[in-house]
């Protein structure tokens, strides 16, 4: 009897304990849902942001996510932008001193290690040169300058001062781009022999930027900083002498990818473009460019088009095409694609899939062949990798890590110069309507 009771007590107690464990395991697991980006508070590198326009705002969002970096000063010639930035940072608990003039900032901020420059292109060279000479490391947005001479002076100052100068071609630090270049294009030789590249940025027609009338800058101040009027100040990208037009504004990022991934600059460029839609701009509003690259395996031609007079249909991408396959890359992951010919058997899909480099896309219906010359339908795969930071953050992180000496810059000014040189040449080709040859020597700063 005693034994029987003990056994039942034991079983009963075990049941209660089991139920308790079951309930414990059923508690909502919230830790996985609380992934978030921590705003910086205690930092070790003091940095100033010069230029708080559209690009400056994007860079600020990334800056605030980076640990051990403290934003101490903000500079913009427009008090409307300065106030907006200060109020925003105040809300985040990040008090900054603000300046209208960057030279004033440099004179008063004695504990700076670096500056981030996001001003109109024509200010990049003078600001960068002054900041480098002041002993600061510089992250400068692309284009380096609206002129080749201006860009060259930046490289020279970088060399003279020994300070770091990172140019904001942020895709060079984008983990997806780095992975696809290293693992698929180089390691797996996914495309085979590269024969063609295609890139585009179709941006929808949009109105010029406006401004609140009560915050309009006085004419003398606009003139002091190089602008004819407020419209020119707000829409500087469209004006010669201030910016470089759409090839410089949008195309620079993508043509830089052509050069980076192909490992060289082109040997020639032809282009066509025009100011066909907008009436109040200087720069053409559409352009189509063809570069020739003399790759060791043979010539590859790269076509690039930038449209600001169309719908945004088709989006923006860079597509590398070879005799074995094609990789279509974009900063927008939804546009990316990967294709491989059935006869390309050097590396199997299975092998790449096992490594986690690609993932099969499940398809149900077979596509109908509409023409006998069509190649057979390819197996569909995608590149499943991603990163969970704003697009500019890895490039800024690379800059700050280079300052700490833990890595090298992903886009130092001398490399960026070579890449941007051929963009300036594309603008020249549009104007001259002639094929322009580009030597390896002239792309060196």
């Amino acid at each position: 009897m005693v034994d029987k009771l003990n056994r039942r007590d034991f079983i009963g107690a075990t049941a209660v304990a089991g139920a308790a464990m079951l309930l414990e395991s059923c508690k909502s697991n919230t830790s996985a849902q609380t992934v978030g980006l921590k705003k910086s508070s205690l930092n070790t590198i003091n940095v100033a942001l010069i230029g708080y326009g559209e690009e400056g705002k994007v860079l600020l969002e990334s800056l605030l996510n980076i640990e051990d970096v403290r934003l101490v000063a903000l500079c913009d010639i427009w008090d409307y932008h300065r106030g907006e930035g200060q109020r925003y940072l105040h809300k985040l608990g990040n008090e900054v001193r603000s300046y209208e003039n960057y030279e004033d900032l440099l004179a008063k901020e004695k504990d700076l290690q670096a500056v981030v420059i996001a001003t109109p292109d024509f200010w990049h060279a003078p600001m960068t040169n002054t900041c480098l000479k002041a002993g600061l490391h510089v992250y400068c947005e692309k284009m380096m300058s609206n002129t080749i001479d201006g860009a060259r002076s930046m490289v020279q100052t970088m060399r003279e001062t020994g300070k770091l100068l990172q140019i904001g071609h942020q895709r060079r630090s984008n983990p997806r781009y780095v992975f696809t270049l290293n693992r698929l294009l180089h390691e797996a030789k996914f495309c085979g022999r590269l024969t063609a590249v295609q890139g585009q940025w179709n941006r929808a027609v949009k109105e010029d930027f406006g401004w609140p009338k009560k915050f309009e800058m006085p004419a003398p101040m606009l003139a002091k900083y190089g602008y004819k009027d407020m419209h020119e100040f707000r829409n500087w990208r469209w004006y010669k002498g201030l910016g470089g037009g759409p090839l410089s504004d949008l195309g620079a990022h993508q043509i830089d990818i052509f050069n980076w991934w192909l490992g060289m600059t082109p040997s020639s460029v032809v282009a066509s473009g025009g100011l066909d839609y907008f009436k109040n701009h200087d720069w053409y509003d559409n352009a189509m460019v063809i570069y020739e690259y003399s790759l060791p395996q043979g010539v590859a031609r790269a076509f690039y088009q930038v449209q600001t007079t169309t719908s945004a249909g088709g989006g923006y991408f860079e597509m590398f095409m070879g005799d074995d396959g094609t990789i279509k890359m974009s900063e927008d992951p939804s546009i990316c694609a990967i294709y491989r010919e059935a006869r390309a058997d050097a590396v199997s899909w299975d092998d790449l899939e096992q490594k986690g480099y690609v993932r099969a896309i499940q398809t149900s219906a077979e596509a109908t062949k509409v023409d006998v010359r069509e190649t057979a339908q390819l197996a569909q795969y995608e590149i499943p990798v991603f990163f969970n930071k704003p697009p500019h953050q890895p490039h800024l992180e690379n800059f700050f890590n280079a300052i700490r000496g833990t890595t090298k810059l992903n886009c130092p000014a001398d490399e960026a110069f070579a890449s941007e040189y051929v963009i300036h040449k594309a603008n020249e080709a549009v104007a001259s309507e002639k094929k322009i040859l580009i030597t390896n020597e002239e792309v060196k700063a």
Binding site: I11, G12, C26, A32, R176, Q354, N388
Partner: protein
């Protein structure tokens, strides 16, 4: 009158151990089956970002890219009595009352867990077998309405096991409570 001193020896009731263990095996199988069917209703797969591992070094890929891996987790918030696909079909069937769908959805998981535990520990064995039998019948009605005949046959096997358990339940031993 002579009084008898004869002592009648009653036959000793022998324990049929074969039947006992047969029922024990069946009881435990049905119990474990029900318990984990119920627990699974609190399970969900979530996508979790992890660094891509470089197969040559076993370390995260130098590019810093991430990949999504599917991770299973259990939480009360995950509870789904009737799978979403089936629930939609039931909701569109005119013979299936909406209140019954909600009620059944809420009670299915807890009912399986409760009756599963009861069967395993031997607490109200007949009652828990009866509840499970009714649940299987109710599920059968639902699956018949949506023409899921494979599922009906599958539930038929379960009903057969419950019926077999009732035939053997007189040999029920190793229990917390013998009654019910």
């Amino acid at each position: 009158m002579a009084t008898t001193t004869e002592v009648k020896i009653l036959p000793v009731k022998k324990i049929a151990w074969d039947f006992t263990f047969a029922f024990l095996a069946l009881r435990l199988w049905l119990g474990v089956r029900a318990l984990f069917v119920g627990i699974q209703k609190y399970a969900a797969y979530k996508s979790v970002a992890v660094p891509l591992i470089d197969p040559s070094t076993g370390q995260p890929d130098a590019s810093g890219v991430l990949v999504n891996v599917s991770v299973k987790s259990y939480a009360l918030a995950n509870y789904m009595g009737i799978p979403a696909g089936l629930r939609d079909k039931f909701a569109h069937d005119p013979l299936f009352p909406k209140f019954a769908l909600t009620l059944f959805d809420r009670m299915l998981g807890p009912a399986f867990i409760l009756t599963g535990i009861m069967l395993i520990i031997g607490l109200g064995t007949r009652l828990s077998l009866l509840i499970q039998g009714l649940l299987f019948i109710a599920l059968t009605v639902g699956l018949v309405l949506i023409d899921a005949n494979d599922g009906v046959a599958y539930l038929g096997i379960h009903i057969g096991l419950v019926a077999a358990a009732f035939l053997l339940v007189q040999h029920n031993r190793f229990v917390v409570l013998k009654r019910w």
